[in-house]
Subunit: 340 residues, 2 copies
DNA sequence: CTGTTAGCGCGTTCAT
DNA sequence: ATGAACGCGCTAACAG
């Protein structure tokens, strides 16, 4: 350990021959100090390797200069990218980001909400499909919150994300355009509004093409690869299997492809499979996945910008910031086999 | 906004008819308060929804109760798992984890080191292959630091990780056992001690089998999928190509497989490819990857435990905690073709 | 432009 | 077992 750990502002002041207030000013508002003393003070700060105690500063300013990001699963590359976006602008504004991986457990969620209730963090960015329980006060939100990624109907907070209905509709229409008429869907958890929206887009496209909906073509997953594998097995356990399957995220699509291959089917020759999100692995799997690209980085950036606004000014109009998506055509979808 | 934001300890004390010291004690050391007043105080705390200001508490105790985790790339699932492990025990001890994704940039690294210098965090867990520049004081470490994942020779801090030499040797020996004699290697960045160690293990195994080392069988990558793709192209750009390739992480292996397939080669029939880490995607790709499993969760757990010890007691003996690895045999490696 | 003073919310002596 | 008083390191108000 170093001998002079924890140099205080007092020591610097004494050794520089000024008051502590002057040291403080020199560090935070240099304009208010004469060049001469400024130089003198900074020199001494340098010499004694003084680092201001931000714990004290934050305490004084009643701000933690930290935000927590609630994420269901940090191991999901999709969330990882968004977090990067958040962190990027957080750092620009001098905020740290506290990682809140809930792993789906409510107690952990409550713990992180507690962090802002006890002032260890100033606000919260929610990447979950639902609002944190604790955050829903009777007469409005208790804590600064912005919802990213998952669009919540009537949420009393700003939301940033994409138009899931439109994107899902575009993807389904693409499959229809290829000639498919029996198009399966593998959903996410039904607690997720994101699932609801994508399902709506899927059905809208079907309807527009005058294709009757068929519930036996729909299976449920939970956004994990193994759930995708299990779900597609269900879909093929019926008399008339789909010729194309729309998975509501890339990981389930990878799981589905895995199953199809293991049963001797070829993708896309026998069955087309498409995903959603465009995670990095989507372009490196076999076949490369046709999917929907989300502007993850931008979503993160925007979410943090909005939160920062709330924290600074106080404008908390529950606006919806929709960012554009893009259909990425690769090789996992093709026209259906003749005769089918 | 709620009407009574920021209830203070003073209000609670007044309304409960006790002193603030008693409220403080009731919350932190309930034993030192009589049952009767304890009940009274807690009831009032409940009623006025009082949450202690941890900013103040931390200030007083000179502790941030937060640690920062420096990670080169949060989008890498391998790191994500370790972070989960860290977070798990951090939460148990009442510590928050600040995410420090450096994206390889030194300025961002410095920023995060600054967080602990200014007391916004109490310690640091390093997932990089090198020590943070700033942390290397002349006469020892300035800040509590533990190094995880990447083993640094003579690091002046505790390290937790695996025995990379032994694991790489085991994998190489496995390939040799299959009958391969021309075994390529795709390395990580050469700044990484992890690369050095795995390379040593690889060479050790070769030597033990009396196979001459051949530099044209070695290519460099940087742990990304695209670098794996590029590196293997190099390896096959020579007269005598390898029959098996050992990639120093799974992502490069996926990139390599991608390239082999795109050039019409079959894995493992034409070429065997193995990885390292056992990320989740490794079991869902085609073919499922033979690789080395690391106890990621445990690495994270242990790293945080060790840091917590340092923060509490002060024992900072630079011990090395080696955790066991496991060879996972899947389908991406097979005996070489006859006649080769 | 600079120094003096006060106080942020809490834990912690010291009395009682 | 409880209360009064002090101070952590810093910034903000006021005076000079």
């Amino acid at each position: 350990m170093s001998s002079s750990r924890a140099t205080s502002i007092r020591q610097v002041a004494r050794q520089a021959g000024v008051s502590i207030a002057t040291v403080s000013r020199a560090l935070t508002t240099p304009d208010k100090v004469s060049d001469k003393t400024l130089k003198k003070v900074l020199a001494q700060v340098e010499r004694s390797r003084y680092k201001p105690n931000l714990l004290a500063r934050n305490f004084r300013s009643k701000r933690a200069y930290a935000v927590v990001v609630l994420v269901p699963n940090i191991a999901n590359p999709f969330f990882a990218e968004i977090i990067r976006g958040i962190e990027q602008v957080a750092q620009q504004h001098g905020y740290a980001v506290l990682l809140g991986d809930t792993e789906g457990r409510e107690d952990r969620e409550a713990y992180y909400v507690g962090l802002v209730e006890t002032r260890q963090a100033d606000g919260l960015i929610q990447l979950h499909p639902r609002l944190p329980k604790i955050a829903q006060g009777a007469g409005g939100l208790e804590i600064p919150l912005v919802n990213a990624c998952e669009y919540i109907e009537d949420a009393p907070c700003p939301r940033v994300g994409i138009d899931n209905v439109a994107a899902a509709r575009e993807m389904t229409a693409y499959l229809i355009g290829l000639g498919h008429r029996r198009i399966g869907a593998i959903l996410g958890p039904n607690t997720s509004p994101l699932t609801t929206d994508r399902l709506r887009g899927y059905k809208l496209a079907l309807k527009a093409a005058k294709i009757a909906a068929d519930d036996s073509l729909i299976a449920q997953g939970d956004f994990t690869m193994s759930s995708g594998r299990a779900a597609i097995a269900e879909l093929f356990n019926v008399k008339e299997a789909p010729t194309a399957v729309f998975c509501f995220n890339d990981e389930m699509a990878l799981g589905a492809i895995r199953w199809l291959k293991s049963t001797g089917r070829s993708v896309p020759n026998d069955v087309s499979v498409v995903g959603f999100d465009d995670i990095e692995f989507a372009s490196f799997c076999d076949p490369p996945l046709t999917t929907i690209e989300q502007p993850t980085r931008e979503i993160g950036n925007k979410a943090m910008s909005v939160l920062f606004e709330m924290l600074s000014g106080g404008k908390s109009e529950p606006a919806l910031h929709a960012l554009p998506t893009k259909l990425i055509v690769r090789d996992s979808a093709a026209p259906p086999r003749r005769g089918k």
